[in-house]
Each structure stands twice: as structure tokens, then as C-alpha cells.
Symmetry: C3
Subunit: 348 residues, 3 copies
């Protein structure tokens, strides 16, 4: 199979309870499906695990199917329901398998991009998830790899697996290329490591976040930080995002539309790669200026100049106009060969 997802970034991972007490148990789902604009997350997660009471999860799957079938085509977000799973409990895993099967066989399936799996353990446990998704896909007549797979890293064992992903992900016996998001789950991670703090606040876990970001980078996946529980403290949420971004963890969990908006307002990372100019059949990389935002061709046959309405490009005497835009990212295999510091800064 080939890699399914093509997103470069996921800034917002928004969870909604799948079933709540009351007359319309799907009301939270329905409301979430209608978020648009800055309130729309990159990834929407109908959460049939921790956000939904255990006794309501049967109904939660029915609600997911109903709401996603009805609204999925219009939802701007990718849709990745979270099902139940536990590395140490086969009954929970069997339950998770049933939840995946039900969704995969339903009329919601065409709008479902993947599944989020909590409480995974070592890599062998990840492979069990992958296999059960494959069986569900097969049963529903869908090709292997139809659904992406994202995991919540909330155990020491899962953290250790992050270092093995790069070697394992392309193994032909599995379909682990369906992997998509690596999401930290600090609440249960803290329990798994039996960590305690005087105030009951979660530890910072910088090493976990580093290892998640590193694992994502090495395996071409996307790292997402866990939930920020104090939903009124948007300033704290912003600060957490700044700290995360400095580790390369560009996405964050959102529990409320306000958190989604806050995360969507965060700056996008700079484009990787470089500007390449094809001049008479030769590719010439442009030199980034100090601000990292502008790129200059150093040579005589081409000039790029800012203009009020965009830029002016002169090639061997001919001038063209254009709008400024971010350079296209190049595939990994063609990465910049001159991505370091320009010679002018290295002086002897």
C-alpha cells in the first residue's frame, strides 16, 4: 500500500463525546459537525473512549454513523473517530474491533478518514490494531489502507515504540503505512509512569514530547500534544503551543471550539525546502535572507523584485509579475542540498 495521508500539518485535533445524557444523545456530535471557519479543526475526533461514558458507547457508535453519514460530506475537517483499546485488556480490544467494524461497514465509511486508537503498548500491539482495521476494511469491501490509524501515546511502552517506527512502518507483512498522528496523552501517561505532583497538575513531560516529535519526524508522521484541561485558560493553552512548537510538535488536542480557534490562530511553520529556479535547464537554489522569509537569486540572468501587487521576475530581460506565495514543498527525496547557513555568516 502507499501512504494514505498527504497532510503536512495538523494543528487541531478536536474531540467530541459521541453520546451524552439527554433526549438527543448525539447533540454534541451534531454541533461539532457543523463547526466552520476558524472553529473547524484540521482533524475531528468523535470520541467513543474517554469523552463518552462506558455505558453509552454502543449508542455512541450509532450516533457516529448517523451524524457522519448525514454531515460528513460537508465537514471541512478530516474525520477520525476514537474507539476503545487497551494494550493490557483483550476484552477492550475486542470491543474496539467491533466499533471499527460497525463504522467501516456503515454508510458513514466514505467520510471517515481513519481511527484513533488509545492506550496502545509496544509495536506488536500497534500491529494488532493495524490487522483488525485491515480485517474490518476487507469485510466492508474496502482496500487495505483505506483508513488511517492514529495512536495515543500514553504508556512508557508506547513511548519506546516511537523509536522503532521508522524501521517498522514499511514492513510488507503489515499495513502500518496507514499511520498518521502520534498524539501524546499525558493524563494516562502520568498514571502509567506513576508520577505524582504536589498540586495534582500534570508533569511537563518534555522528554515524552521530544520523543514523540522525533519519532514523527523520523517516520514522516505528525506529532500532536495532548489535552489542555483548563479550557478557560486560553493564554496557558497558547503558551503550551509555543512550547510544543519549539519541539516540533505542531498540533494540539482541543476540547472546545474556543481551543480550536486559538490553535488555528497559531503561526504556521515555515515552508521547508527551498526555492529552485530552473534557468536554461539548470536548477539554481535561491538564497534565503536572514529573516527566512525572502529568497534571493544570486546570479546575473534572473532577478526577483518585490512590487506592490506581488513580485516582478526578470529572466534574461523578460519581466513577469506574480503574487507572493509560499514556495511549494518538495518531496523528501529532492530536499535542499544547501539548506544550511549562507557563507556570509561563516567567517574566519
Amino acid at each position: 500500500m502507499t501512504r494514505r495521508h498527504d497532510r503536512a500539518f495538523v494543528r487541531t485535533f478536536f474531540t467530541s463525546p459521541t453520546a451524552v445524557e439527554g433526549e438527543d444523545s448525539a447533540k454534541m456530535l451534531r454541533r461539532a459537525a457543523q463547526l466552520r471557519g476558524m472553529e473547524a479543526p484540521d482533524v475531528w475526533v468523535p470520541d467513543n473512549e474517554d469523552a463518552t461514558a462506558p455505558g453509552m458507547r454502543e449508542e455512541g457508535i450509532a450516533n457516529i454513523i448517523e451524524v457522519v453519514a448525514a454531515h460528513g460530506a460537508d465537514v471541512p475537517a478530516e474525520i477520525h473517530p476514537r474507539v476503545v483499546w487497551h494494550r493490557d485488556d483483550p476484552a477492550t480490544r475486542a470491543e474496539g474491533f467491533e466499533q471499527i467494524r460497525r463504522v467501516a461497514a456503515s454508510e458513514a465509511a466514505p467520510h471517515v478518514d481513519g481511527f484513533v486508537i488509545p492506550e496502545v503498548g509496544g509495536l506488536d500491539d500497534w500491529k494488532k490494531v493495524d490487522e483488525l482495521i485491515t480485517l474490518a476494511e476487507n469485510e466492508a469491501g474496502l482496500p487495505t489502507g483505506t483508513f488511517a490509524m492514529s495512536v495515543i501515546v500514553e504508556s512508557a511502552t508506547a513511548e519506546l515504540a516511537l523509536a522503532e517506527l521508522r524501521d517498522a512502518i514499511h514492513h510488507p507483512s503489515n499495513a502500518l503505512e496507514r499511520l498518521f498522528l502520534l498524539v501524546d496523552g499525558e493524563v494516562d501517561y502520568t498514571k502509567d509512569l506513576r508520577a505524582i505532583t504536589p498540586t495534582g497538575a500534570l508533569p511537563d513531560w518534555p522528554e515524552l514530547r521530544h520523543n514523540t516529535s522525533r519519532g514523527a519526524s523520523a517516520a514522516d508522521l505528525i506529532a500532536v500534544d495532548g489535552p489542555y484541561d483548563d479550557i478557560r485558560d486560553l493564554e496557558g493553552y497558547r503558551e503550551r503551543m509555543v512550547d510544543n512548537r519549539a519541539r516540533g510538535q505542531l498540533g494540539i488536542w482541543a476540547l472546545t471550539p474556543d481551543q480550536v480557534v486559538t490553535a488555528n490562530e497559531a503561526p504556521l511553520p515555515p515552508a521547508t525546502g527551498e526555492w529552485l529556479l530552473a534557468v536554461d535547464g539548470e536548477q539554481v537554489p535561491l538564497t534565503p535572507e536572514d529573516d527566512g522569509e525572502r529568497f534571493v537569486y544570486e546570479g546575473e540572468r534572473v532577478s526577483v523584485a518585490d512590487a506592490e501587487d506581488g513580485y516582478r521576475l526578470r529572466i534574461d530581460g523578460q519581466t513577469r509579475r506574480g503574487r507572493s506565495s509560499r514556495p511549494p514543498r518538495r518531496p523528501v527525496g529532492e530536499r535542499s542540498r544547501w539548506s544550511g547557513r549562507p557563507s556570509s555568516r561563516s567567517t574566519a
Copy 2:
């Protein structure tokens, strides 16, 4: 073999010199064997390595045998002598083997719970320790696995091995299931990494402590931090414990009875797992409240209410009284399937 140790936590790891200058070279050992109450550690380590001068270690083993045979039955702590070992020096390893053999064959053996091995290297070095303990057990007519094995992590190589423990510990060619404590030894670790600080103080080594705690969690072992040298600074010792606990490293080395007392006063970690209520043959998990200390049944057939003298439990109309206590921990295989945040906090 099956895992030997059944402790969930070790808060105090207390070392005593096995032989000191003077008329009664065993006097420190004898005094330590009589510590009781808050001065009694969880694990007592007659230290025939760094705490005892090289020239007195022969006598140190004789002292261990004498004192542990005489007092071991009454010592409340587990008893784990530390012998000599070095990953890079076969002569030291041979000496450590002899020390283990002497203890294993002695009348102290029934009171000895395991051995502490310093200066281990990579996993192959840990296997050498394990094998020599097995040989000593066999020679003494004891079943394999009689003695636990704890290691001092004081080299980069040993730190790297922490990530491999989970996969190696159950290998049937070895008896590594005897592993018990993973103890950081920052003094020699600092030398091994050739780190230096302006004041000569030890670096903080947050990554080492994280990796030790993570390795312990993944392999179901117990993480213990190294010695705190300024034995008069109990406040600093307390702060170190707070920092350790936020990493899941719940135990700490103690060099003095005062440090033991200070460590024994530290809060115990919360019980993991959850309250389960069996109602008409069905197990219903209770919902933790925000403070994490109270658990509420959400349903109609049962109610739990605080009362002055404990609690009142009403089941289908019948009321019972009881004292509050910590819920029993459930074995890992039956871990909570709903251990996350309750639905009321996840709002859309």
C-alpha cells in the same frame, strides 16, 4: 521462573558500610539492622562496594553474613547487599561472583532478598550478572530466581539498556525476571559521560531519570534515584524527591537514617486502577471526581455518601457503613478501561 518481587513501591533504598575501621568493624551494619518504624527503609543495602574501603570488603562479606543471620529475621526491610562489579573489569566481576557465592551459601541466605549490582554495562553485562547469581543459587541448592537483582545505572551503556528491558526480561535462556530495582548512580554516571560543572555539583540529569522511570514502567520494575550527598540538607532532599516523583521515580537512595525518615514521610502515590462496583453480577466502574480522590457511581441502584464516621453505601435500598480506604489495586491485565477524563469536561 516467575517474578520474585511483589512490591508495588520502594521509597527508601538505604546503604550501610559493611566494614569500618575500629574494634567492631560490623558496628554500622548492626546499627542499621536495628532501625525500626520511620527509620526502617523499604530496602536495606549492606554496601560492600563504594561505602566500604576496598581493603575491608572481605571482612565486609563476613560481617553481612554474621549480622544478617543474627538479625535478618527481625529486620522489617527487604535485604539486598551490594557487591562489587564492573562492566570493564573481569577481576572485579570475579570478585563480585565470590561475594555472591559466599552470601548465598551462608546461613544469612534465607533473609537475603537479592543483590545490588553496581557499574553494569549493556544488556549482555546484565546477563552475566544474572548467570552468576544463578550459578551461586544452584551451588547453594536454591532454586533459580531465589535472589532478586537490582542494578545501579551509572553508565551511558546501562542507560541505553533501559530501553531494551521490556523485550529481554522474559527471555527463557536467562532469569532476568529476577530484576527488581533500577537505581540511578549519578556520581559515576557523571564520570562516565565526562560531564563537568563549575561548582563540582552533579548535573541534574533529567533525561537519565526519565529514561530510568520509563524503563521501569515498561518492564514492571521500580525506579530509584541515587544518593543525595549533602546529608544535612533535608529540605534539598525533599525537593529532590518532589522532582523525582513528577518523573515517576518514586524511590530514593538514603545515606542516613534521617534521610530514611524524610523519604518515608513522603506521600504515597495514588492507587492506580479504579473502583469497581459489582451490581447484580455486572462490574460498574465508579467515576472519579475532579480531585481524583472521590469516586461516584453514576446510576440508580447504588449510592455512596460520605458520613462523619466513614461512608454510607446504599444498594437497592439497603444501607451499609464503612471506613474510607484506598481502593485495592487491580492487576495490570484488568486495568481500567475508563481511566481518562469524565465526559463532563469534554464539551463542544
Copy 3:
């Protein structure tokens, strides 16, 4: 092959552009080759990668050959040119191979100690480098292992490889024993992890530096931190070195002779090992005092005393004088067996 390098420490890793615009494109190289005294680095790196514009790298190799052939015999530093390489780009790797071949076959070769390889990926990528160096050595009639190999760790994948070095380095199918320096490259590492900071400043990457130091310690290599771009801020450079040393990363990149001087002024790490006194055929380790700088023999047959002009050593009545000096380091296999805290500090 046997390990080629015998340095215990590298404090300064100084890069120079190999070709710059102007009449004498080799002028920076020539100037760097003449640095002496405190301005002379431990390792000098004619940098044919990021410090030199892509279009000038052909000429850069010619300059390296010319300048190193002319001045190499007198340069006090080890000489390790940096060539181009990229884990994701075979064209760049082929170019790097050509650069190595040209240098290896040139009259500069006798003065070249090794090559620095940027942008390496996983261990298989490191093996490609090693093999191409071996081919270049063979072609030039030089024995395998003539050239050392140092890498710039500037990707998540390379960071992960650091944990595997110890097991891989002695594999007989390769010549990875030529490995020498592990150098962090935070600029491109930051890009590889897609990390961003509000100011554009580089993140601190404590975990990367820890893992580099740990990998170096485990595989008996040398860890070097990356460039410090603000070349006028020598105080900040000093602070970075203090922070690095507390992690065991004793070397640092230098972009200017001023940075070289600053790094050369930094304190040397203490000698490892211990003083051993051979007394009547027996080796007695000396006891370090609290400051870690003085060592005391505890016994009756020998005394060491400070004197104005050095020390006075009395052995069984005979007194000798000598100058204070650092104790010789002992080979790893004979490491101190009593390197911990003296018994006087462990009290019960």
C-alpha cells in the same frame, strides 16, 4: 581495523569556507591554516558544505588540496574536511564521494585525518559513507581506516542512530571503527523536526545534546555541540559551553578564531581514573578529597605532601620531590574499582 583516533577530548571544531568570492578564493583556508597557539583549534574543518556556496565547491576541493598540501604538515590541528552528503539525495551523496576521492588521491592526503559528513540519516546511511570512504582509500592505495569519519547529527533519524552505535561500531563487515566525532547541527535539526520559535532563535534541544553525549560515551566517541551563530556574543558562547559540559558534551563548533580562543580557554575535564600507588608490589588507590582535586594515601608507608615547588613523596622513609600534574588516565579496562564516594561520607 583498529580504532584510528586516540584523542580523549576535542574542545574546538573550527570550520572555514573552502572557496570565497574574490581574487584568491582560498584566502580563508590559507588564513585558517596559519592559526597557532590559542587560536589553533583541536580539529580544523575546511568546510566544503554549508560554509561554501554550492557553485564554488569544485574550486573548494582544489583549494583544500592546495592549502593542506602546502601547510598541512605545520598545522597543529587535526584536519577533517567537510564534504557534501544528504541522506535523501543520491546526487549529493555521489558528489560527496567524488570530493572524498579527490582529496584521498591528492598530495594533501597525508595531512588529512578524516572527513566530516553532514546530513546523515539512519545507521544504514552511515554505512554508505563508510563504504565510500573505504573505496576512496582503496583507490588511493591507503589502508582501510586511514581516514576518520565524523558526522553531523541534524535529523531525527540520525539522533535515533546514536543509540545503536555501540552495537554497530565493531561489526566486521564495515569499518565504522573509523568514527570519531558526533557533532550536533541544530540549524538543520530544527528544520528536520519542523520546530519553530517566536523569535526565530534555535530551540535548546537538551534531549538531542544528551543523546549525543550518551551515544559518544557508550561508543567511545567524542561529542561536539553545533555552531553558535552570534559570533560577537562570546559570553553567550561561554555559557553554552558550561551548559554543554554539564551534559558531557565537551567540544563545540567554532565559526571564528575568537570562538576558538574562547573554547580553548575553557577548563579541561578532570582526569578519569584514580591515582594508584604501587607499594611493595600492591596497588593502593588514593582517596580523593572533597574538592576532587587532591588525593590522599591512607596508610602508613607512604606520604604525599604539598610543597612550594610541587610535592614531597615519602616512601618508607625516603623523600622525593616532584611537580604537580594530572594523573595519567588509565585504559578503560583497568578503570577504578573504587571510584565512588569514600566511606567517611556514608554514615549510618
